[in-house]
C-alpha cells in the first residue's frame, strides 16, 4: 500500500473559513485531497463530542477553523469556542489522545491561500504522526467472548 494517506475532517464556520476555502477554489490554489469539510454556522456551534465521533469514524486528524477574533459574524462564537478548545485540549492530553492531531486555526474569507497551507501542513503533520492507532485498536463491537466477560 502506498504511503499512509491520513483522513482529515475539517469543521469550519460558514462565514469565514468555508468562504476562505471557496476563495482557494476560485483562485485555483491546489492542496491535498485528504480533507472532508463539514459546515457549521459558527465555531461556537462545533460540539466537542463531534470531534470524538470523527475519531471513532476513522479520522486521523481534525481541523477546526473559523473567523478571527473580532470578525465573528455572531460577535462572540469564536471567543467561546477558543475557551472550549483550550479545556478540551487539556483533557485529551491528560487522557493521552495526541492533541497534535487536532489543529485549531482562524482562516478569514479573504485567506484562501492560508486555507490551502493549513490543509497541506496538517496533512503532512498527520502523515508524520501516522494513523490514529489509539482509536483503531479500540475495537468498537462489544466483546462477548466468555474469556473477557468482565471487561478485562
Amino acid at each position: 500500500m502506498s504511503e499512509f494517506e491520513p483522513k482529515i475532517v475539517a469543521f469550519v464556520c460558514n462565514w469565514c473559513t468555508y468562504a476562505g476555502a471557496d476563495l482557494a477554489g476560485t483562485s485555483r490554489i491546489k492542496y491535498a485531497q485528504n480533507v472532508r469539510i463539514v459546515r457549521f454556522p459558527c465555531t461556537g456551534r462545533i460540539d466537542f463530542m463531534l470531534l470524538l465521533k470523527a475519531f471513532e469514524e476513522g479520522a486521523d486528524g481534525i481541523i477546526v477553523s473559523g473567523c478571527h477574533p473580532a470578525d465573528c459574524h455572531y460577535t462572540s462564537g469564536n471567543y467561546h469556542a477558543r475557551r472550549r478548545w483550550m479545556v478540551f485540549k487539556d483533557l485529551l492530553d491528560f487522557i493521552g489522545i495526541d492533541s497534535r492531531r487536532i489543529v485549531f486555526s482562524w482562516v478569514s474569507a479573504a485567506e484562501g491561500a492560508k486555507w490551502a497551507h493549513l490543509v497541506n501542513d496538517t496533512v503532512s503533520e498527520i502523515r508524520n504522526l501516522g494513523p490514529m492507532k489509539e482509536y483503531k485498536n479500540l475495537e468498537n463491537v462489544s466483546s462477548n467472548k466468555i474469556g473477557e466477560l468482565i471487561n478485562d
Partner: protein, 665 residues
C-alpha cells in the same frame, strides 16, 4: 424511508475536467435511500432545473442533493426549484464539489472519490433534515444613514422620498462631508457648493428625515428589520432650538487661532464656530478642548453675546436609542497628510500641501478667499509642482491600490491654478493618467492644451527647501530619463485616499467585515457591491473604496433602493435557521443564556394548574435568534437544537465521513 435524488453538475468543464461526474452519480445511486442519481452539464441552467423538477415528480422524491458549486452561490436557486415542486426547501442541500474539490485537486480517482464522499455526507444530512418554514418578522420602516457626505445625503433623500422615515447622523457639526470642501468639481467645473447646498437644505427640510449632526453610533444590536441603534449625540453646548444661527457668538470668542478642520488646517477658527458658511444645520458648536471656559470656567463671551440665550455650558452627551429596520453606511474617507512622506520632508515644509489643502486655497470660502497664496509667506506661487500618486500604488508604503480620483482633481487643480495665476507654471509629475469617467479624458486634454499644464511622466525622488525655494528632484522618463530639478514655489501632493481612523471600530460595532485597508467589505465585488455580509446593512460612497462623486451618488441610490425594497413588505421573511428549546428536558441552568450574543434566550416559568412554579426553562425569542448555535453546543442536556444544523444532522454528517464506497458496491 427517504427518497433522495442526487444531481451532479458538470458546471461546463469546471467540475467535469477533474471529477468523473458519471462515476460520482453511479456511486451515489447506491447509497441507501437514493432513488435517483444523474449528472448534467449545467444544473443551475433552466434545463438543469427542469431536470430536477421532472425527477421530483417522476420518482416522488422527498429530498434533493445537488453536487455543484458552493452553497453560498446557488443554494437559494435550487431551494426555490425544490419548493416549486411542493417539497420544503430545507430538504435540498448542496455539496460543494467545485470550489472545495474539482478546482483545487488534480484529475483522478481520488478527486472523484472525494466528490462522492462529499455527496454522501450531504445525503446523510438530507435524510435527517426537517421541514422548516420562514419566520415572519415585522420590519421597522425607518432607516439609519451613517455619514452625511454626498452619499449619505443622496441615500437619505431617496429613502425619504419613498415615504420612509430616515435618521441621518453625521460625526461633524455639519453635513456636507468632503464635497463641501471642494471649490469646483471635475469634469464640469461647476461650483461644488452650488450643487451640494440645495441637497443639504433639502435634507434639513425633508419631513421624513431626522438630521442628527455631531453624533456618532455608540452601539448596535438586533438584526435585519429589527436593529436597535444607540446614538451618542455629542454635546454642542448650544441649545439648537433657541439658536437662530446669527453667528454673533463666533465673532466675540477670544480664541481665534485654532487650525480649522474644514479648511484642512489652512485657516483658523475660534473655539465656538460654524464649520463653513453654508453649514447645515447652521448652528455653531463649542470645541470643548480649546475653549477657555472649560479650562478656567470663567470666560463667557459667547454666552453674554448670544441674544437668543442658546449657549448652555453644562450640556451633556446624550445617548439616544432608535429602532431602525436598515442601515446605510456612508462614512466616506480621509486622505494621508504630508507628514506621511519621508521623501517630501515629513510635513516639515509649509509649502508642501495636500490636494485638499490646495482645494481650500482655490475655494472662494477658503482661508485665502480663492486667491492662491503660499502658506509660508502668503506670496502668489509662480511655479507649482503637483505630484500625483503620492502614497497610492506604492507597496513600500503599504497602500497598493489606486485612489482613483487624484488624477482628475490634480488636473483640475492645475487648471484652476492657471485660471487664477495665468503666468504661473504648473508641472505635474505622474505615472499614468487614469481619466476613465465620462468626459474625464477630454477634461485632462483641455488642461494640457488650453491651460498648458506641463505633464512630466516620472516620479519625484525628493523635495527639499533651499533659500525659500522648494527643490523638486524627479526624472522625466519620456526624455530618456534625464533627471529633472525644478525650483518650485509650492508643491501639491495628491495624497492617497484611505479609510477613516475609526472605520475599524465602527465595522466591529456594526458586525460588518472590512478589508486589510479598513474599507468596508461588500458582499460580492461584482454582483452585490452595495450590500454587506450582514443582512440589512448596505454601503455607499468612499467608505467601501475610493471613488468620485458620480459613483458615490450612484451607489447611494443603489443602497437606498435596497433599503426601500426591504421596507416594501410589512413582514420580513427570515431564514428559519434559529434555535429551539425542548422545555420538558431543560433544567434551567441557563448556561445558554450566558453565551447568547443576541440576548435571544429568555426565562419562562412553567406553572402547574394552580399557578405555582414547577420550573423555569429557557425559551428562544425567534425574532432575535440569529442561529449561531453556540448555545446548542454548550447545552449539557442537549435541550436546545439549531434548526437546519440539528445535533442529529451534523452527527449523521460526521458518521458518513469516511464510509468507503466499496461498502455497498
Amino acid at each position: 424511508m427517504a427518497r433522495i435524488g442526487v444531481f451532479i453538475c458538470h458546471c461546463g468543464e469546471n467540475i467535469a475536467s477533474t471529477v468523473d461526474c458519471g462515476k460520482v452519480a453511479e456511486i451515489s445511486s447506491k447509497i441507501p435511500g437514493v432513488v435517483f442519481s444523474t449528472d448534467y452539464k449545467y444544473m443551475c441552467s433552466d434545463p438543469g432545473q427542469t431536470l430536477i423538477k421532472d425527477a421530483i415528480k417522476k420518482y416522488k422524491l422527498t429530498g434533493v442533493v445537488v453536487g455543484a458549486c458552493s452553497p453560498r452561490m446557488h443554494e437559494p436557486t435550487f431551494r426555490k426549484v425544490v419548493a416549486s415542486e411542493g417539497i420544503n426547501p430545507f430538504f435540498c442541500e448542496m455539496a460543494n464539489i467545485r470550489e472545495h474539490c474539482s478546482w483545487v485537486h488534480p484529475k483522478g480517482e481520488e478527486t472523484t472519490q472525494k466528490a462522492a464522499d462529499t455527496i454522501r455526507i450531504l445525503v446523510e444530512k438530507v435524510r435527517n433534515n426537517e421541514p422548516l418554514y420562514p419566520i415572519k418578522v415585522p420590519v421597522t420602516k425607518r432607516a439609519l444613514v451613517i455619514g452625511g457626505g454626498i452619499a449619505g445625503i443622496q441615500a437619505s433623500l431617496d429613502i425619504a422620498n419613498a415615504g420612509n422615515e430616515v435618521i441621518l447622523i453625521e460625526k461633524e457639526p455639519s453635513i456636507g462631508g468632503h464635497m463641501a470642501q471642494l471649490s469646483e468639481t471635475f469634469p464640469t467645473l461647476d461650483c461644488s457648493q452650488c450643487i451640494l447646498t440645495p441637497r443639504m437644505v433639502e435634507v434639513a427640510q425633508h419631513p421624513n428625515i431626522t438630521l442628527m449632526s455631531y453624533s456618532e453610533v455608540e452601539s448596535l444590536e438586533g438584526f435585519i428589520g429589527n436593529f436597535k441603534a444607540t446614538i451618542r449625540k455629542k454635546a454642542r453646548f448650544i441649545n439648537e432650538e433657541l439658536c437662530n444661527g446669527c453667528g454673533d457668538c463666533t465673532l466675540k470668542c477670544p480664541i481665534k487661532k485654532i487650525p480649522d478642520e474644514f479648511n484642512a488646517e489652512m485657516g483658523k477658527r475660534p473655539a465656538i464656530y460654524v464649520p463653513f458658511p453654508q453649514a447645515v444645520p447652521n448652528k455653531p458648536v463649542i470645541d470643548k478642548d480649546n475653549c477657555t471656559h472649560f479650562k478656567n470656567g470663567k470666560c463667557q463671551f459667547c454666552k453674554t453675546n448670544c441674544s437668543a440665550g442658546a449657549i448652555d455650558f453644562d450640556q451633556q452627551d446624550q445617548l439616544i436609542t432608535v429602532d431602525v429596520g436598515a442601515i446605510v453606511v456612508a462614512t466616506g474617507f480621509t486622505i494621508k497628510g504630508t507628514d506621511f512622506f519621508p521623501e517630501y520632508g515629513y510635513g516639515k515644509y509649509k509649502d508642501v500641501v495636500t490636494g485638499l489643502q490646495f482645494e481650500r486655497l482655490l475655494s472662494s470660502s477658503g482661508p485665502t478667499l480663492g486667491e492662491v497664496r503660499r502658506p509660508s509667506d502668503g506670496k502668489v506661487p509662480k511655479k507649482v509642482v503637483f505630484i500625483a500618486c503620492a502614497g497610492s500604488r506604492d507597496p513600500a508604503k503599504g497602500i497598493e491600490y489606486c485612489s482613483k480620483i487624484c488624477c482628475m482633481y490634480t488636473a483640475k487643480h492645475a487648471m484652476l491654478y492657471k485660471h487664477k495665476v495665468p503666468d504661473g507654471e504648473a508641472d505635474i509629475f505622474y505615472m499614468d493618467i487614469r481619466a476613465g469617467g465620462k468626459n474625464y479624458e477630454e477634461f485632462v486634454r483641455r488642461a494640457v492644451e488650453e491651460d498648458d499644464v506641463n505633464y512630466i511622466r516620472g516620479r519625484v525622488s525628493k523635495v527639499y527647501e533651499k533659500n525659500g525655494k522648494l527643490i523638486v528632484r524627479g526624472v522625466d522618463t519620456l526624455l530618456n530619463s534625464t533627471p529633472v530639478e525644478i525650483e518650485a514655489d509650492m508643491v501639491v501632493l495628491a495624497t492617497a485616499s484611505v479609510a477613516h481612523s475609526d472605520a475599524e471600530s465602527l465595522a466591529q460595532k456594526l458586525h460588518i467585515s472590512y478589508d486589510s485597508y479598513n474599507f468596508f467589505s461588500e458582499a460580492h465585488p461584482k454582483l452585490r457591491p452595495v450590500e454587506t455580509n450582514t443582512a440589512g446593512i448596505t454601503l455607499a460612497g468612499a467608505c467601501q473604496a475610493p471613488k468620485d462623486i458620480p459613483e458615490s451618488v450612484a451607489q447611494a441610490s443603489a443602497a437606498a433602493s435596497k433599503t426601500i425594497a426591504l421596507f416594501s413588505q410589512d413582514l420580513l421573511t427570515r431564514e428559519p435557521i434559529i434555535a429551539v428549546s425542548n422545555k420538558s428536558t431543560c433544567v434551567g441552568c441557563f448556561l445558554c443564556q450566558s453565551v447568547c450574543p443576541y440576548l435571544a434566550i429568555e426565562r419562562e416559568e412553567i406553572k402547574d394548574r394552580n399557578g405555582n412554579i414547577i420550573k423555569t426553562v429557557a425559551s428562544i425569542n425567534s425574532g432575535l435568534c440569529q442561529g449561531c448555535g453556540t448555545c446548542v453546543a454548550f447545552c449539557r442536556s442537549k435541550s436546545i437544537d439549531l434548526q437546519g444544523y440539528t445535533n442529529n444532522q451534523v452527527f449523521s454528517e460526521v458518521s458518513a465521513l469516511f464510509e468507503r464506497s466499496e461498502e455497498y458496491v
